[in-house]
Symmetry: C2
Subunit: 426 residues, 2 copies
Amino acid sequence: MHASHLTADPALTHRRASRVVRVLGPDGRPLPDADVVVEQTQHAFGFGCTGFDFVALANGEADTAEPPPFGGATPSSAAQLADLWLGLFDTATLPFYWGGFEPVRGRPDTARLRAAAQWFAARGVRLKGHPLVWHTVQPSWLLDLSVDEVEAVQRARIRREVGDFAGLIDTWDAINEVVIMPVFDKEDNGITRLAWVRGRVAMIRMAFDEARATNPRATLLLNDFDMSSAYECLIEAVLEAGIPVDGLGLQSHMHQGYWGEERTLRTLERFSRFGPPLHLTETTLLSGEIMPADIDDLNDYVVDTWPSTPEGEERQADELVRHYRTLLSHPAVVSTTYWGLPDEGAWLGAPAGLVRRDGTPKPAYDALRALVRGEWWLAPTTVRTDSGGCLSVEGFHGEYTVRAGGAAAGFTLDAASADVVDVRLV
Amino acid sequence: MHASHLTADPALTHRRASRVVRVLGPDGRPLPDADVVVEQTQHAFGFGCTGFDFVALANGEADTAEPPPFGGATPSSAAQLADLWLGLFDTATLPFYWGGFEPVRGRPDTARLRAAAQWFAARGVRLKGHPLVWHTVQPSWLLDLSVDEVEAVQRARIRREVGDFAGLIDTWDAINEVVIMPVFDKEDNGITRLAWVRGRVAMIRMAFDEARATNPRATLLLNDFDMSSAYECLIEAVLEAGIPVDGLGLQSHMHQGYWGEERTLRTLERFSRFGPPLHLTETTLLSGEIMPADIDDLNDYVVDTWPSTPEGEERQADELVRHYRTLLSHPAVVSTTYWGLPDEGAWLGAPAGLVRRDGTPKPAYDALRALVRGEWWLAPTTVRTDSGGCLSVEGFHGEYTVRAGGAAAGFTLDAASADVVDVRLV
């Protein structure tokens, strides 16, 4: 009835381009019959992961007895993880949870987060801040304020973070989990109080208005874990309100088991019909026991140990590959973020990482890398230009370089590229 | 955190008024020191029930081998039920399910429904039509039409029914169960196809625009069974879209057990904060076994027999009284509709009625009547006017009459009434 399988294309044709590249020398003249090396340097698609593990490392901090406030690995473990992270991912989500970022009013963690963002940026990694508005991980001092005061400091906090990081972080989960926000009853907090009084749409308008006014270039996302009709209805409300949403964030913590291709495609189809691109913002697949299906709030599941198992690791690798193939098969999806590279410090203690506690990669890491930097990637390839200086490049949408001798130049391959792409080496 | 218990008032102060009534004779002069009889004739609050049972009876039809298309009692049973119905309820919901109302295109059941509506109206009963747009109980001929054609005939059908019954039925469930409408997957149908393409808000706008244009005086309700955040989000979408909703319909089929006071108040509080009055449009409480909690769609539960039991009947009576007290304690609630007086022909075969299959009232009937026409009602009462012709009346908001000798007159008691209400007998 709903044409999911018409929209999705397992061949990923919509993500590939084939173009003639004309290589020009530094003098601007075509370089005929020359051996050049072509290689991909970045995907257009965002292959993301949380970057929480590297905040302390980027700040040169030593390991401490206390776990990092946002989870993640210790600095000494992070140093070992960096190559694995950079060998697979190109987009990092950094933690701006208000309660962790500004536990003492007026003392935001700006400098540490800036160092972390710069650490990633220096390595060619794109960045996203998460989140500007959320009702959990709240600073306790917010509870002393009136609803009007909460709104005022929340607005100021959005402007401050978006402004302080503009140019470094230009993508934000502007607001997180709005479906449950006003009726969240696990913990009293100022944001739920505000959302109850103002309504969901007003909360979203506040987040988007403040962030947009501060950084007009920003890509601003609505993000939610609720994949039910509730989120669809909320999106309709936001669109009716005329709030310009740059992307819809869909969480997919699969602690209770892999969704499977059919449910995944159906979910993508349901949310893609509203228009904004889809960001799969929080993806996890376990390499150990699956959480029982009757747990409603994942946070309620507390276990002493939750080991990664050999069978679990094989299953995780299989499911991860199937899941990423499914996500990329749908044209509306523009990024995925895996929710944590290492098991160390993983949310809920789950074996959700792609790297074991001993720092070795699980099969899922290798399997996903074989896609992202293998099957879907153009490794350095020597090609000979024809008599007109031209060569053909077929590859995934993204950034590429051509090198010849000591000169090099980059070009972009995407659906908008000209039929013949001129690349002038310098 | 959310002030449910501040809004609700178990003393029902918000539903009562106390006023001085000055009784004037036919000559316009006060009637001092006279015995007059004061009595209530109607509640302002709508104590509703489905009127499906009386459609055939009102049309003078004989019993047939086939069950009535909308459920409900046979005509011969209905004749026995009429006094019980009228002795408790004052507002009837009549069935306009498209598949039953117009099974053959172009042959709507208008005349029969008009006779039924007139039957109730002649007995002082207020009326509501249910529903103008819904994705189930659809005419099969709709499946042959394109999406654009479905929209055209749906719009025409709204105008036809609302126009044909204007003045007789001025309250409508304009659209039913929109949260699930576009993603309903139990049965292919034209309305789900339309809702998938157009979106939920567009469906609601269509229903309200057409009905309002046809009958500007109509009271138009949005109605849903989904009491989750999804319905809240949908309501926000509707309000953002600027669609004037006269009331929010909340279904409460409690086949899986009584909600209890806390959940009920919390639900009322969640939905009352949007502004429009609340109509508890579909209420049921069982006098037999409770449906297992793991049934997701109530329609999936099929049993051979589902008897009313003595223990069940006592429980039902207790819960019904508690439920109605809770509903009336919240100022936002303006009506309730019990979903079927008799067990005969009840939805799902459940013992959800207030009257047994043998036609005798269950304890719940008597208990609810003791509230609606007892504790919350002013029965005919003889009062002596003072020397100025005045007397005090304290009672529920509603309609009242005063009689003296052969003369009588009516008056309204509500929050807007003047301090002294002049009533001139004629």
